[in-house]
């Protein structure tokens, strides 16, 4: 009998709350069963993207494409992170204790190599391992602040707002409340443009 894992199990897997043996078992099954892989893809997509994955939207059937690519290549594809200062300092860079970055995979081989902009093609350069939840991985932090996303898509306000919210957690309305501004649908009402100000 091919017992399908319950939604609760997949949800628990997504939340890293399954025992290790059960986690390994489900992941092995996900590699062998396309239907389960698709369910697992849906459950894990958010967490995967939060942890490791790129900026471009994922195509429907992403899991199928990954499996097909793995089968065609027969070997794992090297996945590296790339960094590219996209706003060129729209956000003041960095700090030892604070980093603002985004990451995406690329196929370059040497540090310092020019980084490619994220694309759908680049999202396919992943191994099955990259789709697994990183149970105890620490988020990548760098010693400088850099907003790593295409400048055309990024708004400096998002980064300022995130830093602002993160710095105001200790207030009376702390907890998750400061982040509501960040997650809410951005509706930015321009009140007025200033008169040109002569430089002092």
């Amino acid at each position: 009998m091919n017992h399908q894992p319950s939604d609760e199990q997949l949800s628990a897997l997504c939340d890293d709350e399954l025992p290790g043996s059960e986690t390994r078992f489900l992941l092995r099954r996900a590699q062998a069963e396309p239907a389960l892989a698709q369910r697992w893809e849906r459950y894990h997509l958010v967490r995967i993207v939060l942890r490791r994955q790129p900026l471009a939207p994922l195509a429907p059937g992403f899991a199928d494409a990954v499996m097909a690519r793995i089968a065609a290549e027969g070997r794992p594809v090297v996945v590296r992170r790339w960094l590219k200062p996209a706003l060129g300092g729209a956000i003041a860079a960095g700090v030892a204790a604070l980093a603002l970055v985004a990451v995406a995979p690329r196929t370059g081989t040497a540090p310092g190599e020019p980084a490619a902009m994220p694309s759908l093609a680049s999202t396919m350069n992943v191994r099955t391992e990259d789709l697994r939840p990183m149970l105890y991985a620490q988020p990548t932090a760098y010693s400088q602040t850099a907003l790593e996303m295409p400048a055309a898509q990024a708004s400096p306000v998002e980064a300022y707002l995130l830093r602002h919210s993160n710095a105001t957690l200790e207030g009376a309305r702390g907890g998750f409340v400061p982040y509501v501004y960040v997650v809410a649908t951005p509706v930015q009402a321009v009140v007025r443009q200033p008169e040109p100000t002569p430089s002092p």
């Binding site: 939340d15 967490r47 993207v49 939060l50 939207p57 060129g88 300092g89 729209a90 003041a92 860079a93 700090v95 204790a97 604070l98 980093a99 603002l100 985004a102 995406a104 988020p139 990548t140 932090a141 400088q144 907003l147 790593e148 996303m149 295409p150 400048a151 990024a154 400096p156 306000v157 998002e158 980064a159 300022y160 830093r163 993160n166 710095a167 105001t168 200790e170 207030g171 009376a172 309305r173 702390g174 907890g175 998750f176 409340v177 982040y179 501004y181 960040v182 997650v183 809410a184 649908t185 951005p186 509706v187 009402a189 321009v190 009140v191 007025r192 443009q193 100000t197 430089s199 002092p200």
Partner: protein, 298 residues
């Protein structure tokens, strides 16, 4: 009959006494709220009304031996979500992913006490998401900041809803849970000693004399050389002041805008870009931004 009458009188007396006791206790609600947000586990859905639109979000907070985990997801519009684990914050938005790691070096904001810029009043009670809530009003003593109405769960102190109210009495924004499951935090969390008090940050190289009375510098997140980020709080409202070397990419990023209750004002000051944002009226934030100046050497 006499016994029933005596019981009725006792209940009536208790009911009449409740508002008085609650009013006397108004100042205790904010610390309880702070404690609840920091220690409880919860999962719920709330609506957020702002800028003429309604967002729905789901929040989940869990605490275990590995630490605290908060997950906030938008259920309407674009997929935007935020995951906070310890001092690591990951924010996924349609344009990409941001990761923010901070040292959690903020000091506690000022308490709302007798001479605070708000008058705290328990104005009533209500039911929110099935919970009995006390309604706490924080009325500003001047027109430079918003008023707050907070719906606070009576037993745990959990925030069930909030509204920011402008000087005209209209709500600038409102947040309200529609469903919520509360669980106590694990015993290990309860037994954890309170963190040591963080000393007040040292004043930075820039000052903003137009900050309204009652604001105190609570954090100066580390920034690169020649850049500065100051965080000011009056106990409820928060203001961030960014001063960064001017770059071509941001030279035209000036003006005033509002996003929900957050006013954002950009200014150019010589070779620097000044950005001030906070949950204050736009006019107040503009005054703050216009007053930003290098601090005179001591």
């Amino acid at each position: 009959m006499i016994r029933r009458f005596a019981r009725f009188v006792a209940l009536l007396a208790a009911a009449l006494a409740l508002p008085v006791a609650a009013a006397d206790d108004a100042a205790s609600w904010l610390p309880r709220l702070r404690h609840a947000l920091d220690t409880l586990q919860y999962e719920g859905v709330f609506v957020y009304l702002h800028d003429g639109q309604v967002d729905s979000m789901q929040v989940r907070r869990t605490v275990n031996e590995r630490g605290t985990r908060e997950h906030l997801v938008s259920l309407t519009g674009d997929r935007r979500q935020l995951l906070r684990e310890g001092n690591s914050v990951q924010f996924l938005l349609p344009a990409g992913l941001m990761t923010l790691t901070s040292g959690g070096d903020g000091a506690m904001p000022p308490e709302i006490s007798g001479d605070a810029p708000y008058e705290l009043v328990v104005s009533g009670q209500s039911r929110v998401a099935g919970y009995e809530a006390a309604i706490l009003d924080a009325k500003p003593r001047d027109t430079q900041r918003y008023g707050y109405r907070l719906w606070i769960e009576r037993e745990t102190g959990m925030l069930l809803g909030s509204a920011l109210v402008g000087a005209d009495g209209n709500a600038i924004e409102q947040m309200m849970f529609t469903s919520l499951v509360l669980k106590p935090g694990p015993a290990v969390a309860a037994a954890t000693p309170a963190p040591a008090a963080v000393p007040a940050p040292v004043p930075g190289e820039w000052s903003a004399p137009a900050l309204p009375d009652g604001f105190r510098l609570v954090a100066r997140p580390a920034a690169e050389r020649d850049a500065e980020h100051q965080v000011w709080s009056d106990g409820l409202a928060n203001v961030s002041l960014y001063v960064e070397p001017l770059r071509a990419e941001t030279a035209d990023w000036t003006g005033s805008s509002r996003r929900g209750a957050i006013a954002v004002v950009g200014r150019v000051r010589g070779g620097y870009h000044v950005v001030v944002m906070g949950d204050l009226p736009v006019a107040t934030v503009e005054r703050i931004a216009d007053s930003v100046t290098p601090r005179a050497p001591q």
